[in-house]
């Protein structure tokens, strides 16, 4: 087990290194002269050259990359090319919106997907079961931005229960108001991602229902529902855990779009602005942190799956 954790952590480190190199290479090798963008269209070549050397762009690429990486090790992701603001502190500030939004979305997705996924597996041959399966298939095909618009139309414009967009200026100083502003965005991501998750849970529950031990439990007098819940749940839980890492990638992407739709000052909205400004050093930091998060959570999920699955545990021993 310990050997497995160490291997996994080494792979994670390698993954982060490769990811950072890929991001750096993509942003620096592709054409598109940042110095020119900063200097503006009516600048002289000398001005552009001055900006380029002040940014360190005249250094060899490898030197620039090593500079960036050695900064990251100390927690410094570089600075915005336009405002000079520290990328790290900006990410920390914006995470105060994105992090709660993602956690709330995930909670909503789980609340929807786990019970309904199991129910639709139990009722698979009935009308309810097929209807649930079809509805989840359809919702999983809905673009998250459109889902957001429809929810705004119904719950904000129509019923007036929630604000249609925005986040309180004082942030979390008034926790109730901040939380309130995040409900509709989280619901949007949660419903769409929940529909995707539901399908995984449904097939895991179906597989568990076919297992001998669940059938035996049912034969010994338990109802099928009880047999599945008491004996089949560990298998379903394992599926949930192992698709969670990929779900989190989906949640983060959803957050980028939904923060734009609801004008929430989070990491996603900042990334959209940075891309628009062609603020390469900032985009580089934003993307590395988001991708790194997916890699880290993937590793955590792998280790947790190994811990809760006795078969895998024994295989490792």
């Amino acid at each position: 087990m310990i050997r497995f954790v160490i291997t996994r952590l080494a792979l994670l480190l390698l993954g982060l290194l490769v990811a950072s190199a890929l991001i750096f290479a993509t942003l620096r090798i592709l054409p598109g002269d940042v110095a020119q963008v900063i200097a503006g269209t009516d600048s002289t070549p000398e001005q552009v050259e001055a900006i380029r050397s002040s940014m360190g762009f005249d250094q060899p690429l490898l030197t620039q990359y090593i500079d960036w990486i050695s900064g990251i090790v100390t927690g410094d992701l570089g600075h915005s090319m336009l405002t000079g603001a520290s990328v790290t502190s900006q990410l920390v500030e914006k995470a105060q919106v994105t992090f709660p939004l993602t956690v709330m979305s995930l909670a909503i997705a789980l609340i929807i997907a786990v019970p309904l996924g199991i129910l639709s597996a139990l009722k698979r041959r009935t009308f309810t079961g097929s209807a649930m399966s079809m509805v989840s298939q359809a919702i999983a095909a809905v673009p998250v931005v459109w889902a957001g618009m429809l929810l705004v139309v119904v719950f904000a414009v129509g019923l007036g229960w929630f604000p249609p967009q925005g986040f309180p200026r004082d942030g979390w100083d008034e926790p109730a108001r901040a939380l309130y502003a995040l409900i509709l965005p989280a619901l949007t991501i949660g419903v769409v991602e929940g529909a995707v998750l539901l399908r995984f849970i449904r097939s895991a529950a179906l597989e568990a229902l076919g297992q001998d031990y669940v059938r035996t439990a049912a034969a010994k007098g338990l109802t099928r529902t009880r047999a599945l819940i008491t004996h089949g749940m560990p298998n379903v839980a394992l599926t949930v855990v192992s698709v969670l890492a990929l779900q989190i990638a989906g949640l983060l992407v959803g957050a980028v779009i939904i923060e734009q739709l609801f004008t929430l000052p989070g990491i996603g909205r900042m990334l959209v602005t940075d891309v628009g400004n062609r603020d390469l050093e900032k985009v580089q930091g934003d993307v590395l942190v988001l991708t790194g998060l997916v890699l880290v959570l993937g590793t955590v999920v792998d280790i947790v799956a190994r811990l809760i699955d006795p078969r895998q545990r024994e295989a490792a021993a």
Binding site: L11, L14, G15, V18, A19, L22, I23, T26, L27, L30, P31, G32, Q137, A138, A140, A141, V142, P143, V144, V145, W146, M149, L150, V152, V153, V157, P164, E193, V196, R199, V243, L246, A249, G250, L252, V253, G254, V256, I257, Q260, L261, L271, V272, D274, V275, G276, R278, D279, L280, V283, V287, L290, T291, V294, L295, G298
Partner: protein, 291 residues
Amino acid sequence: MTTTVPIVRQRGWARTFIRNPAGVFGLVTTVALVSCALLSIVWTPYDPVHTDVLSKWHPPSSAHLLGTDNIGRDIFSVLLAGSRVTLQVAVGSALVAAVVGVVFAALGSLTARWFREIIAVLIDILIAFPTLLIAMMLASALGGSIMVVIVAVGISFGVNVGRVSRPEIRRVSRSEFVTAGIAAGLGPVRNLTRHTLPNVAPVFIVQLSWCMAVAVLAETGLSYLGYGAPVSTPSWGRVLAELQSYIGIHPLSVVWPGLAITITVLGFNLLGDGLRDATDPRLGRPEVITA
């Protein structure tokens, strides 16, 4: 000697497919999308880029099937023309994904063992890059365009295809006819193109129809954020972005583009599901289905 089950091309997969209503729905939507795109080249009820402030916000009627938008464009015509962008992105992404997938598959099966291990680790790392982030990175260097969407979806889904097809390719390359090919003197590349790839083609085709679904969602998201289709091009994602400010007053107008996107995505997904069930029921849905 290890006994491997010979891969017999399943007879009557088309018949199995036709009996599956979900798969047929997928096929019908795909044909409908292609027809709309072709039709819009020669005919749309109104000019999709013609603005006429005097006729803005017409409700749906016989003259304007789905009404008009904030600048007086006929929404039906805009959506019809937008289907071209959707089809371009879907087909383009699938082609790029196919190339990337074949490259990874070839590298993962033809090369030395240590190199295969490196490729496997690399695939696991690349999978962690969400499609949207790849697209936004490309957009920040090159500016947004339909091409950026195609390349981003193609790369990220191609990696996925490479991973999903890896066990299949390994299974096929251990089978007797591939061994026979080697014995008959075929080189590794020819053996791959002649014997291995045709036998894993079902996996590829199924994956690529799911890829098209992801591509449509990615186009929507990126065009909404302003990094997909350019301003002058009618696209479903752009229409959503443009009508967003009016959802309070004219909620019906955003229903149509969203519905078009959802049906198309659902169609590609069900087409893939149907093809999978008809050709090889053991294959699972891809793990990356978010755009």
